[in-house]
């Protein structure tokens, strides 16, 4: 089956006065239609940058150095500005991290939700109004017709994130990118938002990429996971395999650092900090923090070793002697 999104050997570099920052360094993955992919990693591991490049929304000093991004049969890196704009919001919707600042404070909620439909000339104004009302109702905003006349400051954080989801879904995109959609919300609201995303996914059948640093959020939602570290993919596989049968030492230490409400255990933090991406360590980027580091880890970058069906891990431990 043809994947909806096929990213190959993506390299995104940022040009800073201090040097070249390799935010994403050789990332490849596929996303199939109707699939939910979770990208997990610490801050600065390149997870957000890798998806922002899909929309080409990088800051001015960021450049896609090499690689290809094929979305729905089109090479995104070769699209013109107009073609790209047509894709944004229509075929790919995105929900950002901070709902408090992602809405225009001087335009009513209703207008903002309607706008993508009108920009892409998908329907008339009155139809857009009806669709926006319906969509706001679907994402769980009570009295959508009245609330459409209100301004963002009259909405709470959780409600604004619901609005953002409605905005991202209003054009029925083929791909929804959720870039840490719950980071700035309360824990109870986080669960609500993930449940809402799941329901919307079932309703519309689009593919979803969920970016998070919270492994717990991925369990019930994601079909497949990618674990990223310092711009590289460390491990990928079905969510169940990764959570119950992690192969990579980094994934294992991540899981050791997650609290479990049922089992009393000591949380084991990962020693050290994420390496500088301007001057990354040689070999495996995790080796300075890895408890199992060997000599080869310091010299050579590990390839992805096949662990199981669809389960790969980039660690020299899996090399069969």
């Amino acid at each position: 089956m043809e994947p909806l999104l096929n990213i190959e050997d993506l390299r995104v570099y940022f040009y800073r006065p201090e040097g070249v920052l390799r935010a994403v360094d050789g990332l490849s993955y596929k996303l199939y239609r109707g699939e939910v992919l979770g990208i997990v990693g610490e801050s600065g591991s390149g997870k957000s940058v890798s998806v922002l490049s899909i929309l080409k929304l990088l800051p001015a000093n960021g450049r896609i150095e090499s690689g290809s991004i094929i979305f729905d049969g089109k090479n995104i890196l070769k699209l013109s500005k107009e073609e790209l704009r047509d894709l944004r919001g229509k075929d790919i919707g995105i929900v950002f991290q901070d709902p408090m600042s992602s809405l225009n404070p001087v335009i009513t909620i209703g207008q903002q939700v309607m706008e993508p439909l009108l920009w892409h000339n998908l329907c008339s104004k009155s139809e857009a109004y009806e669709r926006a009302k319906e969509m706001l109702g679907m994402v769980g905003i009570p009295l959508p017709e009245e609330r459409m006349k209100e301004y963002p400051f009259q909405f709470s954080g959780g409600m604004r994130q619901r609005v953002m989801i409605a905005l991202a879904l209003i054009c029925r995109p083929k791909l929804l990118i959720a870039d840490e959609p719950t980071t700035s919300l309360d824990v109870t609201i986080q669960a609500q938002i993930i449940r809402l995303l799941k329901r919307m996914k079932e309703e519309f059948g689009m593919s979803v990429i969920l970016i998070t640093h919270n492994l717990a959020l991925t369990t019930n939602f994601c079909d497949r996971l990618i674990i990223m570290y310092a711009g590289n993919m460390m491990e990928t596989g079905k969510t169940k395999d990764i959570l119950y049968n992690p192969a990579h030492p980094y994934t294992k230490s991540l899981l050791d650092a997650v609290p479990d409400i049922e089992v009393e255990k000591d949380l084991i933090p990962i020693p050290g900090t994420i390496p500088s991406l301007i001057d990354p360590p040689n070999g495996c980027r995790f080796h300075p923090r890895c408890p199992l580091a060997m000599d080869i880890c310091k010299e050579e970058v590990p390839p992805l070793f096949n662990i199981d069906t669809d389960h790969y891990s980039a660690c020299w431990l899996h090399r069969r002697a």
Binding site: L55, A60, S101, N104, E115, P116, W119, Y151
Partner: protein, 288 residues
């Protein structure tokens, strides 16, 4: 109870909030009422003035204020009250007109410069720097001399030097709004550059722009009076406060009303515009 609360919340938009805060400032409201009266008087001057501005009454030269001539007459026996009204008309005309020119140029340049950045920003801002560093009153005088006297050349002369400040302000505001997250969110849902500029950036910086417009009008009026004072304003016999003040200076000790009337009007007008501007600044800066 909850329904009532809901109803009250709805419709309390950005502008409703500003108006609510503006209303609390008595001086600003007073100024606003006065500004409206002034604009009204200015527009209706030809119908309200008791005499034509250039009608000469030789039998009543230098008459102090009385029942026939409410503000007295000048050295040619022209009714000062009528001339004040016509001057007001000119001042309002020049103030609003030139300020409209300034706003148009300043907002266009500032928005373009701040939004696109890079080379465009550099070139436009160097032009602004040049205009800023040039003695503007001198440039005004030269422009009026070159273009000839008249409304249009006064507009052009004043706005040619006045837009630089507006452009700088708008550029700065644009830069601060441009980096906010909802701009990126708009881009992500497919907004074009012009949509982002006019629907997302401009409405978010309209507050400071309105303040700048109102606080700029008195300056423009003062410039026009200044040009008239040295004989480069509107063409006589069309009156202007500046011209009237200059005609009255020699008479000040004998006929002080000739100087006090136009000077008083000038001060009152400038003050009322400034009060409105201050009220707007306070109302607009208190953000949600």
């Amino acid at each position: 109870m909850k329904d009532r609360e809901n109803k009250k919340r709805i419709g309390r938009s950005y502008w409703a909030n500003i108006w609510r805060k503006f209303k609390k400032n008595k001086l600003a409201i007073f100024g606003l009422v006065f500004v409206f009266i002034l604009i009204f008087l200015g527009i209706l001057a030809p119908w309200l003035a008791p005499y034509p501005y250039d009608e000469v009454h030789y039998e009543a030269v230098w008459t102090p204020p009385n029942r026939q001539f409410w503000a007295g007459t000048d050295q040619l026996g022209r009714d000062i009250f009528s001339r004040l009204l016509y001057s007001l008309r000119n001042a309002v005309f020049v103030g609003l007109g030139a300020q409209a020119f300034i706003t148009f140029i300043g907002v266009t340049v500032g928005l373009t410069s701040g939004f696109y950045g890079g080379k465009i920003d550099n070139i436009l801002m160097r032009i602004v720097d040049i205009i800023y560093s040039f003695p503007s009153y001198l440039l005004n005088i030269i422009l009026v001399l070159v273009l000839g006297r008249g409304y249009l050349s006064i507009f052009i002369a004043i706005s040619a030097t006045g837009w630089a400040g507006m452009a700088r302000l708008v550029r700065g505001q644009t830069l601060s709004v441009k980096s906010r997250e909802f701009i990126e969110a708009a881009r992500a849902s497919g907004a074009s550059n012009s949509r982002i500029m006019f629907r997302y950036i401009l409405p978010n910086i309209i507050g400071p722009i309105i303040y700048a417009i109102f606080s700029g009008i008195p300056g423009v009026m003062l410039l026009e009076s200044g040009l008239s004072l040295i004989g480069l304003g509107v063409r006589p016999p069309m009156p202007s406060w500046g011209l009237m003040i200059s005609e009255a200076t020699g008479q000040f000790l004998y006929n002080p009303y000739m100087l006090l009337a136009p000077a008083g009007m000038l001060v009152l007008t400038l003050l009322s515009f400034n009060f409105v501007a201050f009220g707007l600044r306070d109302a607009l800066s208190a953000r949600e």
